[in-house]
């Protein structure tokens, strides 16, 4: 059986072991790494990612990816969302190849060990979402985008490497449908202020009200579902959330 020959997998759960997939926490988003880039969304073979949902002929696709976890790390959020929204296709995007490998193996293992055919709706792709989001998603395709504990890039000269900026929000607004929601969270106060400020400045996003935040089941997953989030909770740290809705352009 697979788990006997692969030391990187746990024999008991059949799931991959994180310690064999460790990587640096930081990755340089400026470098053009060595991974394939699809020419356009129609060039992506989503049947490879979601074989049970998508036929091999992309023309017949009725279902498209709706949730994207940008910088998905070890996949904690996606795994939680997969069972919460079993009929929604979701994908994680991650720059580090070892970490992407881990998430891939985790999803495959979960699909195998699941009794009810779960986790067929979740997948991961290695890419640089600061450059290639329009290559994967069509205009207005997504209903949710997640940016959990992004790299703070503390030095001012490195602020331009931050995944949330007013310029990049143009592209995120493009792939999000009107009414779609962008979720951001961090444990770094300055970054939290930065992200909130960028979203407030951008003419195509407005903040969710407290009532809306309270009634959204996804919001509490931001802190609890990921490795990063659990670490912050363990250390009793504070988190800073900014959750905004994509609206039509207001001049």
């Amino acid at each position: 059986m697979e788990s006997e020959t692969k030391p990187t997998f746990s024999k008991s759960t059949g799931l991959p072991r994180k310690r064999f997939y460790r990587a640096r926490a930081h990755s340089n988003p400026l470098s053009d790494s060595h991974f394939p880039i699809p020419i356009s969304p129609s060039h992506v073979d989503f049947s490879l990612h979601f074989p049970k949902f998508v036929g091999t002929n992309n023309e017949e696709v009725s279902k498209k990816v709706e949730f994207a976890d940008i910088g998905c790390g070890f996949g904690g959020l996606l795994i939680s969302l997969a069972t919460l929204f079993p009929d929604t296709l979701m994908i994680g995007m991650e720059l580090r190849d070892k970490v992407t490998e881990y998430v891939k193996e985790r999803i495959l293992a979960l699909r195998k060990t699941s009794s009810g055919g779960q986790y067929e709706n979740v997948s991961v792709v290695r890419t640089n979402s600061m450059k290639y989001i329009p290559n994967y998603f069509e205009k207005g395709q997504l209903s949710k985008m997640f940016f959990l504990f992004p790299d703070p890039h503390f030095k001012e000269k490195n602020h331009r490497r931050r995944v949330i900026s007013v310029d990049l929000l143009d592209e995120y607004a493009y792939v999000l449908r009107a009414g779609g929601v962008i979720y951001t969270i961090t444990d770094v106060e300055e970054l939290g202020e930065w992200m909130r400020s960028c979203l407030e400045k951008h003419p195509m996003f407005e903040s969710l009200t407290h009532e809306e935040l309270d009634s959204d089941p996804v919001v509490e997953l931001l802190c609890s579902a990921t490795e990063e989030g659990q670490k912050v909770a363990r250390n009793g740290g504070q988190t800073f959330r900014a959750v905004f809705r994509r609206i039509a352009y207001v001049s």
């Binding site: 640096r24 195509m204 001049s251």
Partner: protein, 415 residues
């Protein structure tokens, strides 16, 4: 292991100094401008005389290679910009420098809005800036950005609703040009995705009534493509490598060529296309109802070596320049040639004495009347190598990548 890598970096830096000669003709054929290196030269085609530029600003005349020039659609203004980080706005009537904008980085592309109110310019880091004309402002504000890419071309759509930006990451972004551009252009209309190499040039082709407009784009992937910008959909792809390749040698296999420049011919649905390494011009015809693009004519340029680095069109006269400079303090070489009646059966490459402005124009724009062929050949090759070095993504071998990471802190300890 150290030596070849350091030398390669040095050679690449020298290549990046190579700047192609540029040419731009007034929309009503009143004047013509050409640049090589930092030298901007203008000739008046109405009274056939060289123009003396007047620049009384603190940063007078360009001090480094000019990388983009153009007349505004109205013909009232002319802009020039480049490696000296200055965007100069000239009156195309008095040829005085009206304003000089200081950019933080080297500028790669420039466009003027149709009503002459705004100038947009793109820097080497992918940021497009906008400045309002008629004021005394010396600095632009950010309009939009292509993250970490180099923007090769900026254009306004014919109806002025959109601003288009093309980059070296194969993309063309179509953004709504807002009522208040100084607040930024945040609403992306579409992305035109389909090219498989850097995009070099974009231009609009329209029907004579100007009711239908489609975008054409040239790229390092040997194609010119046709797009509908409202949806971003690719309408047709025209391969140009076979034409260029076939005429150059007898090989039947396709090699990849770069489309270096293209311009639409007004009052027709034709476009003139210049290709690197090809001594001639292709005429492409666009069928606006069938949404197709095809090669309709190949015009070879007879005589000594002449590969156009930049082309510009007014009425039916196509102006071409070939040349380059090696940096700000090096003399550059440029040769100007003309094709008349380009959209008709009677199109012909003119001899020097037949061109509008004649040898007087050539003396002004070229700096001298004749250039040695060996110099022209060397210049063309240098331009081709420089563009490839700047825009083509570097593919490193595994070994080279590991070598490049050698100075990283966390890689020093061995496992």
């Amino acid at each position: 292991m150290e030596e070849p890598h350091i030398e390669e970096g040095h050679n690449q830096n020298k290549l990046l100094d190579v700047a192609p000669a540029l040419i731009s003709v007034h929309p009503s054929h009143k004047s013509i401008a050409a640049t090589v290196g930092s030298d901007l030269r203008v000739f008046n085609l109405i009274d056939n005389s060289p123009v003396t530029l007047v620049d009384e600003s603190n940063e007078s005349f360009h001090k480094d290679s000019v990388r983009a020039i153009r007349y505004s659609a109205s013909g009232k203004l002319f802009v020039s910009t480049g490696d000296d980080k200055l965007v100069k706005i000239w009156s195309a009537e008095s040829w005085r420098c009206l304003n000089t904008i200081c950019s933080e980085k080297r500028v790669t592309a420039v466009a003027v809005s149709h009503d002459d109110s705004y100038v947009c310019y793109a820097d080497k880091f992918g940021v497009v800036w906008v400045v309002e004309l008629g004021g005394i402002t010396k600095k632009g504000v950010p309009l939009l950005s292509h993250y970490c890419s180099i923007i090769t071309s900026l254009e306004f759509s014919p109806d002025g609703r959109y601003i288009l930006s093309a980059d070296r990451d194969f993309k063309i972004r179509v953004t709504v040009f807002p009522e208040e551009p100084l607040q930024g252009a945040h609403e992306i209309q579409s992305f035109c995705l389909g090219h498989t190499e850097f995009v070099t040039c974009i231009a609009f082709v329209s029907n004579p009534e100007l009711t239908q407009s489609y975008l054409m784009s040239g790229s390092g992937d040997s194609t010119v493509r046709l797009w509908d910008i409202a949806s971003g959909s690719l309408l047709d792809t025209c391969e140009v490598s076979t034409v260029a390749g076939h005429l150059e040698s007898n090989e039947s296999e396709q090699t990849q060529v770069t489309v270096s420049d293209l311009c639409a011919i007004p009052d027709s649905s034709l476009a003139a296309v210049a290709i690197q390494s090809f001594q001639g011009i292709l005429l492409l015809s666009c069928d606006l109802s069938a949404h197709t693009l095809s090669i309709t004519k190949v015009i070879q340029i007879p005589g000594e070596s002449f590969i156009p680095t930049s082309i510009s069109l007014s009425t039916s006269t196509l102006w071409m320049v070939s040349g380059a400079s090696n940096g700000p303090n090096q003399p550059g070489y440029s040769r100007v040639r003309v094709i008349s009646c380009i959209d008709s059966e009677k199109s012909s490459v003119l001899e020097d004495e037949q061109i509008p402005g004649g040898t007087k124009l050539l003396e002004k724009l070229q700096g001298k009347v004749s250039i040695e062929e060996s110099v022209m050949i060397a210049a063309s090759e240098a331009v081709r190598a420089a563009m490839s070095s700047l825009l083509m993504k570097k593919q490193y071998s595994e070994e080279k990548r590991e070598f490049r990471k050698r100075s990283r802190n966390d890689k020093k300890t061995t496992n």
